[in-house]
Amino acid sequence: MANNTTLHQQLLCSALEAIINKALALSLNGTQSLYPLEQKNLVVYLAELGFPLSFIVNNSKVLVTSLSENPDCAIHTSVKTLVALKNEQSLTELIKQDKLDIVGDIKIAQQYANMAETLEIDWQSELAKHIGDVPTYKLTQLSKKLADKLGFAVKQIQADSTEWLVHEKRLVVTSSQIAAFNLQVSELEIHTETVNDRFLAIEKALLNRSSKQFAVNSNKDSSE
């Protein structure tokens, strides 16, 4: 398989890594919150992103990559879910609604959430430094909506982990089920588009025919 690959993914990871570590260096107890996370790997799959974001801590630094093999904890969700997150909703509810899946040790997610809490990051100006103004504008449009929701999600992860732990794992959809479902949806979308195209073609043909008919009739009328 030989295809061309763009490097947006690596650019985003590199920007996130720089921003997070800068914020950690500035925060008072930033690096302390990393001790329990040494060599612990959290992978976040956001449906819209199309690639995993993987976080691992080494020597009080956070590394951000797209490496996704055997993480200690993996979260599958979508930006859409996070944006639509209602204040009264709990993680377990989202899991039941198939909107979120956590695989592995949820304590790791909880500790990462604790660490994220301690950081104060002005995403807009920080991202602009790394990836330029235009992509940042697009990203921050989205992240404005996301920012307070993310804060809330972080709190939910902290609060709900114990409840989640006693929850039956079979409630959780697996990533392969999600993938199969997504595939079905996109297939359906293609079918609908084809049918729609056909409708349009038929409609056009009918219109053509009736306007020709109209012209013939009106010619007849005028000659009579």
């Binding site: 398989m1 030989a2 295809n3 061309n4 690959t5 490097l7 993914q9 690596q10 650019l11 990871c13 590199s14 060599q39 790997n41 691992i56 080494n58 020597n59 630094k61 590394l63 990559t65 797209s66 490496l67 093999e69 055997n70």
Partner: protein, 255 residues
């Protein structure tokens, strides 16, 4: 072809666009890297507009490295890949930075030590063609922008295959053949007109950068390198073009 010509061909190889004796190439390449070592990192950033960092990140992402892995960063030079691998394999893993050139190794060692990366890195001066490691030693081998400088690439690939563990993988990051004519032309202009001048201005060493540009053009294209990896025993060999094929990442497994 007269027997003498054949003999000449067998004993000769490319040093950039020049044809030189095989025995001579190694010392000429050594000359280039002794001479660029001190300025190597600055020049890398300048020449590639910093994109080499993303190519290297892509390599790390494709390596599937895990805590505890044993990694060989071959022709590792000043250690960019080693630095990342060292953090990702953690204290239970190990990274060996191997290079034929002592000046490059020294610059690499100083840089990594300054960054506090000491616990799991070893430095070995070695020729890729005759790796001084036991069979089946490494989970991952990377060679980034190094293979084109090696005199006998086939022998080097066989040597890498030997020291890789079954299930292990080799990643070759190297300049390659741009897919589009236009990109190719712009890139040629850049490498033959601008790059050596930059080398002259910043590193006071235009000749070395002229060699680098020439050696890039003489390096096998994507499919040829893939074939060479297969011939050395690698399986499931694939490649991905980066930046329009200016660079390609080849990956192959030993089973």
């Amino acid at each position: 072809m007269s027997p003498q010509d054949q003999d000449n061909q067998e004993n000769s190889t490319h040093f950039g666009y020049q044809t030189v004796d095989k025995s001579e190439k190694e010392s000429k390449v050594a000359g280039v890297f002794h001479s660029v070592a001190a300025q190597y990192d600055v020049m890398n950033d300048l020449m590639s507009f910093g994109i080499h960092r993303l190519w290297k990140r892509f390599t790390i992402d494709a390596s599937g490295v895990r805590p505890g892995n044993k990694v060989l960063d071959l022709a590792g030079g000043t250690g960019d890949l080693t630095a990342k691998f060292s953090q990702l394999v953690g204290k239970d893993g190990q990274v060996i930075l191997a290079d034929i050139n002592s000046s490059m190794l020294n610059v690499g060692r100083d840089k990594l030590r300054d960054r506090g990366l000491v616990q799991n890195i070893e430095y070995v001066q070695a020729n890729a063609q005759h790796l001084p490691f036991e069979d089946n030693t490494f989970d991952i081998i990377t060679i980034a922008f190094g293979l084109r400088n090696v005199t006998d690439k086939d022998e080097a690939l066989r040597s890498m295959f030997r020291v890789l563990k079954p299930g292990g993988r080799l990643l070759v990051l190297e300049f390659s053949k741009p897919e589009q004519e236009l990109v190719s032309k712009a890139y040629d202009f850049y490498s033959f007109n601008i790059l050596p001048k930059m080398g002259e201005l910043v590193a006071k060493d235009g000749d070395s950068y002229q060699y680098l540009a020439e050696s890039i053009r003489m390096h096998p294209d994507q499919d040829t390198l893939k074939e060479m990896m297969n011939n050395a025993g690698f399986e499931q060999t694939t490649y991905k073009n980066l930046t329009g094929g200016v660079v390609a990442l080849h990956k192959g497994y030993k089973f």
